[in-house]
Amino acid sequence: MAKDLEDGADHTSLIEEVLAAYPKKAQKRRAKHLSTAGPVEDGETEIVSKCDTVKSNVKSVPGVMTIRGCAYAGSKGVVWGPVKDMVHISHGPVGCGHYSWSQRRNYYTGTTGVDSFVTFQFTTDFQEKDIVFGGDKKLEKTIDEINELFPLSKAISVQSECPIGLIGDDIEAVAKKKKKDIGKTIVPVRCEGFRGVSQSLGHHIANDCIRDWVLDGEGSEYEATDYDVNIIGDYNIGGDAWSSRILLEEIGLNVVGSWSGDATLAEMENAPKAKLNLIHCYRSMNYICRHMEENHGVPWMEYNFFGPSQIAASLRAIAAKFDKTIQDKAEEVIAKYQPLVDEVLAKYKPRLEGKKVMLYVGGLRPRHVVTAYHDLGMEIAGTGYEFAHGDDYKRTGEYVKEGTLIYDDVTGYELEKFIEKIRPDLVGSGIKEKYPTQKMGIPFRQMHSWDYSGPYHGYDGFAIFARDMDLAINNPVWGLFDAPWKKSA
């Protein structure tokens, strides 16, 4: 059987070439993370065969320039940070909160500094004496000061930085005590950066803290219906959760909770009352969905709002969980947006067709955006995750073609070599990868932050996605790299 991608065989030798640069011990470890998507054997599904051979969610090799972050980044940066009416304290030294300050573009509405605090950097700014004598007293005082100066904050989370777990502070005791004192929810999160191997454990710890410290809260009054759903695992980057919400509302559903993009404490507390949890970023929030299923009887399903094929399929799958009214409306909505999809494809597909893309993102998008590129006639030459687990690689099999290069926790060295050899037409990754790639003359889009654009979710987002991929690839600057007097040399 012919491979789906013609250069699949080259990818195998490319992996060998790249591994040759490593010292023996590191080479052995890294070899398990690099692969190509395999064939689908008779009697097997794409899920079990294609990408299930990649080792994942293990420690990064020291000194290789991993692109990964830490548990704090997964908890404060990803899960908790977007909850807008809470104050999130970066508990420890000043740096972690500083570098993650206002960087994820989790959009929200509200009056910043008064009832919303997403683009703030609150920290206990640890000094040497706090390390020596412990920071619990300082944390107590910090909470009091927040309560005084930001009276409309609904709750407080304590996002632990590395030293907290090492010096033996008891932030849980502080949280319980201060909750009594000020009457607000206080969530102690043990997301020290040295825990686990990547952002991923931070997501899990953050989910567990929602379970233990938030879900039993009072919630708020609202008119419950049989069509109530939660959006889970959408951080509203560039407004993604909004361009998703509008579609769900159009098919007749009520989104009672948005987790955690543009979320409020009440929305999180109310979540178990919904009929269905819709999860976009499976990697970062599947834990809480499983918990709500087991303990609150709320079923959950994954969906994908990148690109018209997946949007339509997802709307139908979601509608299938409800009655005919919703199913009919889903068809109406799909039909309503079809002219927009047709126009977008007519405009951009001829400019993008056949272009080769390499991706390297976090825990969801390396598979989730694949079909959006396919919708535009583009091809995925390689993809990989910073912090996926085995179940993510299984799910990746559904999306990628045989022969696709797969790289887990890729190192700076590997990614550079892969890009140099494959020379794709576009790379989608993060800020650290952006400039090295562009220097090589290869167009690039940041696929964490949407390169300050977005939203990319939903039909409205797809038009922006198509526009952005076009402007990246077809900008004239890529033709200016060679000085005319150097060209002949």
């Binding site: 548990a71 500094g113 910090t142 950066g193």
Partner: protein, 512 residues
Amino acid sequence: MPQSADKVLDHTKLFHEPEYKQMLENKRAKYENATPAPQVTEILDWTKSWDYREKNLAREALVVNPAKACQPLGAVFAAAGYEGTMSFVHGSQGCVAYYRSHLSRHFKEPASAVSSSMTEDAAVFGGLVNMVDGLANTYALYEPKMIAVSTTCMAEVIGDDLNSFILQAKDKESVPADFDVPFAHTPAFVGSHVDGYDNMQKGILGHFWKDAKRKENQSINIIPGFDGYAVGNIRELNRMLDAMGVSYTVLSDVSDVYDTPSDGQFRMYDGGTRLDAAKKAVNAKATVSMQEYCTRKTLELCEKVGQQTAAFHYPMGVGGTDDFLVKISELSGKAIPDSLTLERGRLVDAMADSQAYLHGKTYAIYGDPDFVYAMARFVMETGGEPTHCLATNGSKEWKEQMEALLASSPFGKGCQVWAGKDLWHLRSILATEPTDLLIGNSYGKYLERDLGIPLIRLTFPIFDRHHHHRFPTWGYQGGLNVLVKILDTVLDKLDTDTGTLGETDISFDLTR
């Protein structure tokens, strides 16, 4: 449906379309348990009151929007200025991802550094294995000429000993025995990025100068300090010193590595202070620091080996540049050439041409201690009043230096200095005692939005405007750039204030 392929609306416009506005209002009304609007307005007004200011300034534990980063960022920046040098940060790996992102977002350039990726087991047993394996991997993959080791707070809390670890790694042949692996302990819970810069410079120079037999020559070492405008500034520095004919070595020159060309090749390393030049720099007769607070320990080292030292506060503007050039002239014995005198005259000429728009303007200035000092000094030269000067990482001593500076000019009368305060303090200060202009970095945009005071971005980090760092702020030429940025803001504001047709446009003048 607001979206169309013809005119694609992204977030800047899309969410202001009626469909989205209604959806968001509905969300707020039904599900958010939002505070009622009148109460929000009441608290908003209160946050701008004197009462709030007093409570806010009385904070003892909470820090809100501080204008400072942590030590290792400065260490990574300092190390990047040496030829072929890779920063190896020992500790948790997420920190390194943060430093790289932070530097890339400002410079719009690659920023390379590696981590020893310590996790729970290393927290218990120490990170020796991570150091041994990590150095070997970095050396093999990235072929550096030097690896500069610094630390995250995790490694500092558990007490890993870099000197001993590096020696053991060399014993295990992670890198050749004679390979340069300078190091600096850079705890994030002490000082800020300017101290990390200092510690790494001291680590690198201390490593090279350890057993050197010093033979003094006429050369002068220049240490630029942590500077978001380093690309433009170091090149301007070179130009001025070359014009004077001075023999000098810039210690940590990041001007090339943070400004590499787009020509098809990714340069992980580019330019930088040559390692042999850094070694020979021990022989220099003097070391001049452009930023005192970035080099306090490093200058002690320089003095210890027998060099003269001098420290400036980010020399900017007329007097700042004058002092710097006079000192260089005095140390080198070289005269200040007419070409620089001409440049000085042109800067003064420009200031004279525009003085009417600058005289009496009031400013709030924040940033690193040396920058704030320089900025306040230049503002006073234009007839402006630096009403509020704030450095989150400023010390008591800095405050005294600032007060002495302000006392030296009638334009500094009544100006206040805020050491150790953050940008939420500054919000209260400016809400109660507003200034005409605000000078700082990108984080200042929130103050600009909240208080309507125009922001001039002149210091690190600048994430939301591009490429300004490629132009100098030092020297007389740099002074012109700074002057024009201030003037543009003043004149743009004047146009905005007089720019509504039929209402405010009486003074919408063509010539200003």
